[in-house]
């Protein structure tokens, strides 16, 4: 699967960080997932819902590497949904920060 790199500032790290991984869009297509909304579920059973529109409009990354290193659970791994916050100013808001699920365990599409 094509790997993408995204360097952006986030609320969770000091300074910009480099994230690497496939686009969430590609992953969902590969999985044959179809629907209007997706629900991301974290290791601690936190859930957050996002419209599929997000995935289409933005290059949302399903990051596996942080600064080229695999992310451990402690580093909010293993998977981290990262929006390109620095590329779109409208993303830098509570709405999209909350949709950036980390310690991702599962994605449900409805």
């Amino acid at each position: 699967m094509p790997q993408h790199t995204l360097t952006t500032q986030t609320p969770w790290y000091k300074g910009p960080k480099k994230f690497t991984g496939p686009l969430l869009r590609d992953v969902l297509v590969a999985a044959g997932a179809q629907g209007d909304a997706l629900t991301a579920i974290a290791l601690n059973d936190d859930k957050v819902e996002a419209p599929m529109e997000d995935v289409r409009r933005f290059d949302v990354l399903l990051a596996r590497l942080l600064d080229d290193q695999p992310m451990s659970t402690r580093d909010k791994g293993l998977l981290f949904i990262v929006y390109p916050f620095d590329r779109h100013v409208e993303l830098r808001s509570e709405r999209y920060y909350s949709r950036s699920a980390w310690q991702l365990r599962r994605i449900q599409v409805k």
Binding site: Q9, P11, W12, K14, L43, N44, S72, T73, R74, D75, K76, R92, S93, E94, Y97, S98, Q103
Partner: protein, 724 residues
């Protein structure tokens, strides 16, 4: 009193108002500057406030993003979850899934700690020492158990470790709860604080806006005031312009009056000058020494020049220029004299055919003081000179160059100057000139052609029209003397009849005549059938002025002679028109042999009485023009023609006057004259020439108690034959 105080106020006010606009402008621009600066500052402040608001909000957003409060509760929750997992693992130490779950919980708990790190949350929360200690204890807990509970460790967990971990975690949980509560409290305060800050910012913003409004208003007011002042100034300027225009009109009127005065004066000057010229001409017929003759010529030339050029120019303020060449005149140019400037004529092409148009250029160079460009620009303006100081040093009225240039331009040329201060000047006269056939060839009378019939054919048939018999006779004598055939007419109608019967070569037409005057007659003549309508007409008038000249030309006349027509002017005119035909061989040689003897009647006059009535100027003119014999015949006809009238009038006058006037009888009872003593002059003819002719009559007599007393001998007894 009221008027006086009013004017006084105006006077006091005037200088103030003159200085006020400058002060007003200065203060206004100062105000504008101040207001502009204040506005700029206000805008800068507003921008700063806005920027601060934006940064405050965006900072809050970034860090609030993941909801800091939530992070504290999550940490506490994950601690509780970890405790639960520890309990589960302690109950069943061999359960791998339980242990794995425990490790996962441990990692999740550990991953939550950085989210409440003071570095991240410090923007919104103020951490007290208590909280920092709590965070340090959590970090210490993690440091201690990482080697056993971390996912990276695969060893089986000992119950003792689990027990210990549970106890340690229990101690942390209370503090974590406090931290969560504290975290909850701080943001509430922070929000209140921020609201306060925002409110303050908004107030500041409102204040700034109000301030800006006030400034804008002030700005508008100043601008309005400036606009008003501008309008006032415009109005003042308009008034000033109007006043200036009025002043200019006045000045022009004054100038016009001056011109009229000059014209009148010059006209008055013309009268005595005509007399003076006559006298000078007469003097020429007296035996003189060479030196005397020389002086006389200089005097006569000067008087002529003054009369023909200066006075004409002064009278009209403008000049009609007629360029003509006359026999014997050849263009010459060369050094004006040893002290004069050097002149170098330079035609573009020296060898050209007759009729070709050439550009003649004459450069006059000097090595004088020279001029700068500004002075050169002023040089050709009326009443201007090199500079004010040179007018003191070099004199002059500042008219010469202006007149010269006007003349040059009238001739289709120009005068220019190139100069450099200290190096001298070059004045250039440029004229378009047309080469003509050699003058002597065109003008030489063909005297060799001999027989009488051809001579006769070369005599010009001329018609003289004048209502006054003396003038008629004068002209006819003058023209016959030149060898032409002269017929006479008394008025316009008769002239027309004669022209129709037998068109002459030229008509001399008096302008002022009773009945059909000269102008009307000429107009009618031009409407006659050919060839009568093509006969050239020369006006005879005493009005030498330009307007008159234009008027006669408009009527269809071709030329112009000022009365009394000087012989050389008349002959020049004819030569101009008829060339060689104008000077036929003299068919009637009129030697002076019949002199005084032919005039027995006049010899009976008492000398003193004659002297009293002689107009010596006119006699000189006539004598020169007609020769002694011709003049004698003129006198004879004059007396024969008018004697009846004069006798009648002198009798009437003698009856009216106590003392016998200058008009009287000669001892033999013959009436000598006079005509003008009784006959009123026509106002338009009250001119220098006319007075001599009409007043004294062609006989050159004059009347009046102030008539000159000294007459040595009769004017017609000339000392020698008159050479024509």
């Amino acid at each position: 009193m009221a008027a006086a105080s009013h004017s006084g106020e105006v006077n006091r006010h005037a200088p103030v108002s003159a200085g006020a606009p400058a002060v007003h402008r200065q203060s206004a621009s100062g105000w504008l500057l101040a207001i502009g600066l204040a506005l700029l500052l206000a805008f800068a402040a507003a921008t700063w406030v806005q920027l601060r608001q934006v940064s405050l909000v965006s900072a809050a957003m970034r860090h609030e993003g993941d909801n800091l409060l939530w992070s504290f509760f999550q940490l506490e929750l994950e601690a509780a979850n970890l405790r639960e997992a520890l309990h589960v693992a302690r109950r069943d130490p061999l359960d791998a899934i339980g242990q794995e779950g425990l490790r996962r919980r441990y990692e999740i708990f550990a991953s939550r700690l950085p989210l409440v790190d003071p570095e991240r949350t410090g923007v919104l929360l103020e951490f007290g020492p208590q909280h920092r200690r709590t965070l340090r204890r959590i970090q210490a807990f993690l440091d201690r158990y990482d080697t056993q509970l971390s996912e990276s460790v695969a060893t089986v967990l000992q119950p003792a470790v689990l027990e210990q971990a549970l106890q340690d975690l229990q101690g942390l949980l209370t503090e974590l709860h406090d931290l969560a509560l504290e975290g909850n409290r701080y943001p509430a305060e922070q929000v209140a604080e921020r609201n306060r800050g925002v409110a303050e910012q908004v107030r500041l913003g409102i204040g700034l806006t109000v301030f800006q409004c006030a400034l804008a208003l002030a700005f508008a007011m100043v601008v309005l005031r400036q606009f008003g002042a501008l309008q006032r100034r415009g109005l003042e300027l308009e008034q000033l312009t109007r006043r200036l225009q009025e002043a200019r009109a006045e000045a022009e009127a004054a100038s016009q009056a001056k011109s009229v005065f000059l014209a009148n004066m010059s006209h008055e000057l013309r009268t005595p000058f005509t007399g003076m010229l006559g006298m000078l001409t007469l003097l020429e017929s007296i035996p003189l020494t060479a030196q005397q003759r020389d002086h006389l010529h200089v005097a006569r030339d000067s008087a002529r020049h003054l009369l023909s050029n200066a006075l004409k120019f002064t009278e009209s303020g403008r000049l009609d220029l007629k360029v003509s060449l006359s026999a014997g005149q050849t263009a010459s140019a060369g050094p004006a004299g040893p002290a004069g400037p050097a002149a170098a004529p330079a035609a573009d092409s020296p060898h050209v055919e007759a009729g070709r148009l050439l550009r003649l250029r004459i450069d006059v160079c000097d090595t004088g003081i020279g001029m700068d460009p500004a002075t050169q620009a002023r040089l050709f303006q009326r009443f201007s000179q090199g500079d004010a100081s040179t007018s003191r040093r070099f004199g002059g009225s500042g008219l010469g160059l202006e007149i010269s240039r006007a003349l040059a331009r009238l001739m289709g040329g120009d005068i220019g100057v190139h100069s450099r201060p200290g190096e001298g000047s070059v004045f250039s006269l440029m004229l378009p000139v047309q080469l003509c056939e050699p003058m002597h060839a065109a003008l030489a009378p063909a005297r060799s052609e001999g027989d009488a019939s051809s001579e006769d054919s070369r005599r010009l048939p001329l018609l003289v029209v004048d209502d006054h018999p003396v003038n008629r006779r004068y002209m006819s004598l003058l023209l016959e003397r030149m060898g032409h055939r002269v017929s006479l007419a008394q008025d316009g109608q008769e002239a027309l009849d004669r022209v129709q019967q037998e068109p002459p070569d030229l008509v001399f037409m008096d302008v002022h005549m009773p009945g059909l005057d000269g102008l009307a007659a000429t107009r009618l003549l031009r409407q006659l059938a050919a060839p009568a309508n093509a006969v050239p007409v020369v006006a005879l008038t005493a009005d030498a002025f330009l307007e008159n000249r234009e008027r006669v030309m408009e009527a269809g006349m071709d030329d112009f002679l000022v009365k009394p027509a000087a012989p050389d002017e008349a002959s020049q005119l004819l030569r101009r028109r008829f060339g060689a035909r104008a000077t036929p061989p003299h068919p009637h040689p009129q030697p002076d042999e019949d002199g005084p003897a032919a005039l027995p009647a006049l010899q009976q006059l008492i000398p003193a009485e004659v002297a009293e009535h002689l107009n010596i100027d006119t006699i000189g003119d006539l004598r020169n023009a007609l020769g002694a014999a011709g003049y004698g015949r003129l006198l004879q006809r004059f007396f024969a023609d008018e004697v009846g009238t004069w006798r009648q009038r002198s009798v009437e006058r003698a009856g009216r006057r106590r003392r016998p006037g200058p008009c009287g009888r000669s001892p033999d009872g013959r009436v000598v004259f006079d005509h003008a003593c009784h006959r009123p002059l026509r106002p338009t003819h009250h001119r220098a020439g006319a007075q001599a002719l009409r007043g004294g009559g062609a006989a050159g007599l004059r009347c009046g108690p102030d008539a000159p007393q000294v007459r040595q001998r009769p004017a017609w007894s000339a000392p020698r034959p008159f050479p024509v």
